[in-house]
């Protein structure tokens, strides 16, 4: 049964491993996955610890529904203090790792210390072993996985690994599983690298009892039908996430030349249709793959059609890679996109952060803040595909002055580069923004400014705000499971009602991450997709645990508060540009120049933005400085944290 999956504490310095059950009352308070991870991080990371030091715990988990009969319970979550901005680090990936770990008997791993030599963990049916990984060190992400399988003689092993970037402690190195499933954000790969932990391999054949199997099967069938009949998911299932680019770049929601423009012009080669054609040409008409148990199958398969890597197989490229290797640096070649995507997959580096930070450097180069002296002769101008890929390599292997500096992430790099370089860095809490441009969409701007892991679209983005939904539809979504009768606006350029939407999505996405299911199976890009009410049934049928939709909402709010408490402890201050809930001045000062007529000429209004933050704080039960009021902590039952119960 899902509820008897265990938590393991692994100390890499001493080699000590302790395995414990997860008490039911902890489940009732934090469910599992990201929520319980947030509790564990707050309780196990000493205040102010060095993110790349042995005392920073790295926590790996599946959700409470992982591998059960809910739709797409594929997600693995990793949490630690982030080496990028020193705030909350958290990443989430699809694939097949978490289900395998659950079949092997575990839901959470808390890994502390630092191994003397490179090691990997081998988890099989209730047992955990620390093994020598010296022969794996230096290998790419896929080589590592295949070698582990060979060494242990089991093709069904699923591994979570780091690549060379993680070993080199590039502060935005990612954690990967499979060909391209990446826990990309906030540098969790660097934390693993700092511990000399190259991989976690899992293989399990232990039963997970389903509480009401017949009913769960039937309910899941309906659930899946609902998910696959949403048009957005059908498009997703044919074009993959690049389909999003079609509309967002069209109307002007894509950063170009770092932050100079909000649209990339004349980029026909990397449009969703063009990418799809390349995939079809190299992999045939059925070229989509799915994560565990998922019927959306949004992962495209391709072979690089031209260039030095011609014929090499990879998966993706996702929407984020279009931004990283095309929009932001203003490169328009399909070959660059597919090659760049492949390189970061192999070296284990966040595509999003890589593209964003190089475009920033390109802007500094254009401004003369960086010169060919710092770039070691590399002509780092916008639109230079070769320079983009070369700089990607230099970062992964920390080569050259600039490669090594950019590998430190934006904040440290801006200190080393000096002058006014920081003014041009598009980040929040040390984490670069996705390639999206939020100047015409206040709701989305509020989302990235206040997201717990820094500038990020998967924490609280009301993406459906762009759909101009009818009032009654919005009402229905946003007044459940807690009543809301305040204003709501269908207008994406408005400020009214947006804080509530952000608050609602923050809780919705937290719940999804606690369950361990994919966001494409909830109210993220599709307005009609499942949320709290459906989850209450799915949890019951699979685990036997009873929660009302409202109770799930409360849990999500509590877990979000744990993340908030962590960030506050690590120095969050409302308007601090490096550690706060604040946007770069360019959002307020530089009007957008491209896109649909109504999008052109927009900035975020500073005063209205402040009011939105105030209002969001109110919903979250925070005071004007963003600190929780005592009664809020009491209401959520976290007034005694850290309570060290687990």
């Amino acid at each position: 049964m899902a509820l008897n999956r265990k938590i393991a504490y692994i100390d890499l310095s001493t080699g000590k491993i302790e395995i414990k059950p997860i008490p039911l009352d902890m489940r009732r308070k934090f469910l599992g996955g990201r929520g319980l991870d947030a509790y564990l991080l707050y309780n196990h990371a000493p205040k102010g610890c060095d993110p790349l030091g042995p005392e920073n715990p790295v926590i790996v988990s599946g959700g409470i529904l992982t591998a059960t009969l809910a739709s797409a319970t594929a997600r693995t979550h990793v949490m630690a203090k982030s080496p990028l901005g020193g705030m909350l680090g958290s990443c989430n990936m699809g694939g097949f790792f978490a289900p395998e770990m659950a079949w092997a008997g575990f839901h959470h791993l808390v890994i502390k210390g630092k191994a003397e030599k490179p090691v990997y963990l081998w988890i099989k049916n209730g047992k955990i072993e620390i093994r020598d990984a010296r022969n794996l060190w230096g290998k790419t992400t896929t080589e590592t996985q295949w070698t582990v399988r060979e060494e242990l003689g089991d093709e069904d092993i699923k591994s979570l690994v780091i690549g060379p970037a993680g070993e080199n402690k590039v502060r935005f190195a990612n954690v990967m599983t499979g060909i391209k499933n990446s826990g990309g954000r906030t540098g969790m790969g660097a934390v693993m690298g700092s511990k000399n932990l190259k991989a976690i391999a899992a293989r399990g054949t232990m039963d997970i009892k389903i509480s009401y199997p017949k009913e769960a099967l039937e309910y899941n069938k309906r659930f899946i039908d609902q998910i696959t009949s949403a048009k957005v998911n059908q498009t997703q299932g044919t074009l993959g996430t690049p389909f999003i680019w079609g509309a967002t770049n069209s109307w002007g929601g894509v950063r170009c030349r770092n932050f100079q423009y909000n649209q990339q012009l004349y980029c026909d080669e990397i449009e969703p249709e063009a990418i799809d054609e390349a995939c079809a040409e190299t992999m045939g008409p059925y070229h989509m793959a799915g994560c565990f148990g998922c019927q959306v199958h949004c992962r495209a398969k391709y072979k690089i059609p031209t260039g030095p890597y011609k014929g090499v197989y990879d998966e993706g490229p996702e929407y984020t890679s279009q931004g990283a290797f095309c929009g932001e640096p203003d490169c328009t070649s399909l070959e660059t996109l597919l090659t760049g995507n492949h390189l970061v997959d192999q070296w284990g580096m966040d595509n999003l952060e890589t593209g964003s930070i190089i475009s920033w450097a390109m802007e500094l180069y254009e401004l003369g803040i960086l010169t060919s002296k710092e770039t070691d002769g590399l002509d780092l101008r916008f639109g230079n595909d070769e320079a983009l890929l070369e700089m990607t390599r230099r970062i992964a292997f920390r080569e050259g002055w600039l490669g090594n500096v950019l590998a430190e992430g934006g904040i440290i790099a801006s200190e080393k580069i000096g002058k006014n370089s920081f003014d041009y860095l598009i980040q929040v809490k040390g984490v670069s923004n996705l390639h999206s441009d939020e100047r015409a969409t206040p709701a989305l701007a509020l989302n990235i400014a206040t997201a717990s892991r820094g500038s990020d679209h998967l924490r609280s983005r009301p993406a459906i705000d762009l759909y101009h939904l009818p009032q009654e539809v919005m009402r229905k979504i946003y007044s459940n499971p807690v009543p809301y009768d305040g204003p709501l606006s269908s207008e994406h350029t408005e400020y009214i009602g947006k804080p509530w939407q952000v608050f609602w999505h923050e809780n919705c996405y937290m719940a999804v991450d606690c369950l361990g299911i994919c966001k494409y199976h909830t109210t993220f890009l599709g307005a009609t997709l499942p949320n709290f009410e459906d989850w209450s049934k799915v949890i019951y049928l699979n685990t036997g645990l009873e929660f009302t939709p409202r109770e799930i909402w409360d849990i999500a709010e509590r877990c979000n508060m744990m993340e908030r408490l962590f960030n506050l402890r690590e120095g969050l201050q409302r308007e601090d540009l490096k550690k706060g809930d604040m946007l770069n001045h360019r959002y307020f000062d530089e009007p957008t120049r491209r896109g649909a007529p109504d999008v052109v000429g927009r900035v975020i209004d500073r005063e209205k933005f402040k009011k939105m933050v105030d209002e969001l704080y109110e919903y979250k039960g925070l005071d004007k400085n963003g600190v929780p009021k005592p009664e809020t902590l009491k209401r959520l039952g976290v007034e005694k944290e850290p309570s060290r119960l687990l």
């Binding site: 060909i179 997970i208 199997p213 793959a289 994560c291 565990f292 148990g293 019927q295 197989y313």
Partner: protein
């Protein structure tokens, strides 16, 4: 409709590798999630993006049936399937060894063999596979479907050739 003569028809090129079929197969038969208990297994060549669903072929002259020393395995003509009678089965695993497709599994927990029983005529893997990489078709339809697909490929190629030719003129 009479399920007479229907078979699991697999189109590997469609398979997305999601393994939902493995999950629902184990839940349907054993009430648990455990891919190791599934009667269908997705074989993967991950580095090439190749996924092939493998399940019992319900062979006409089934090797497993022939080899069984106590005649625990028999054909059920009504559903065109090969069935194991666990009251007779002695757990010797001869069938597991002899099946050319690896479709006869052996569960070390229950110490019993297991194989696809077509879910008594409502195959769950088919029901849940959105893209129909596994389908449940009349045996004679399978070859017709394959013929049709092949013919479509040929005509598409011809059409393309014609288009190319007219372009170059």
């Amino acid at each position: 409709m009479e399920p007479m003569g229907k078979v699991l028809a697999i189109s590997p090129e469609k398979c997305t590798g999601c393994r939902l079929c493995e999950l629902v197969c184990s839940v349907f038969h054993d009430g648990v999630s455990n891919a190791a208990r599934s009667r269908i297994k997705i074989m993967k060549w991950e580095s090439e993006g190749l996924y092939i669903p493998m399940s019992c072929q319900q062979c006409q002259d089934a090797p497993c049936m022939i080899v069984c020393p106590v005649k625990a395995i028999s054909r059920d003509e009504k559903l065109s399937r090969v069935m194991v009678n666990h009251d007779i089965c002695i757990g010797c695993r001869s069938c597991v060894t002899v099946c050319p497709f690896g479709a006869m599994g052996f569960n070390v927990i229950d110490r019993k063999n297991f194989k696809c029983d077509l879910c008594d005529g409502d195959p769950q893997c088919v029901r849940f596979c959105e893209i129909k990489a596994v389908d449940y078709l009349d045996a004679d339809r399978v070859s017709i479907a394959k013929k049709k697909a092949a013919a479509e490929k040929i005509t598409a190629a011809q059409r393309q050739a014609i288009a190319l030719e007219s372009e170059s003129h």
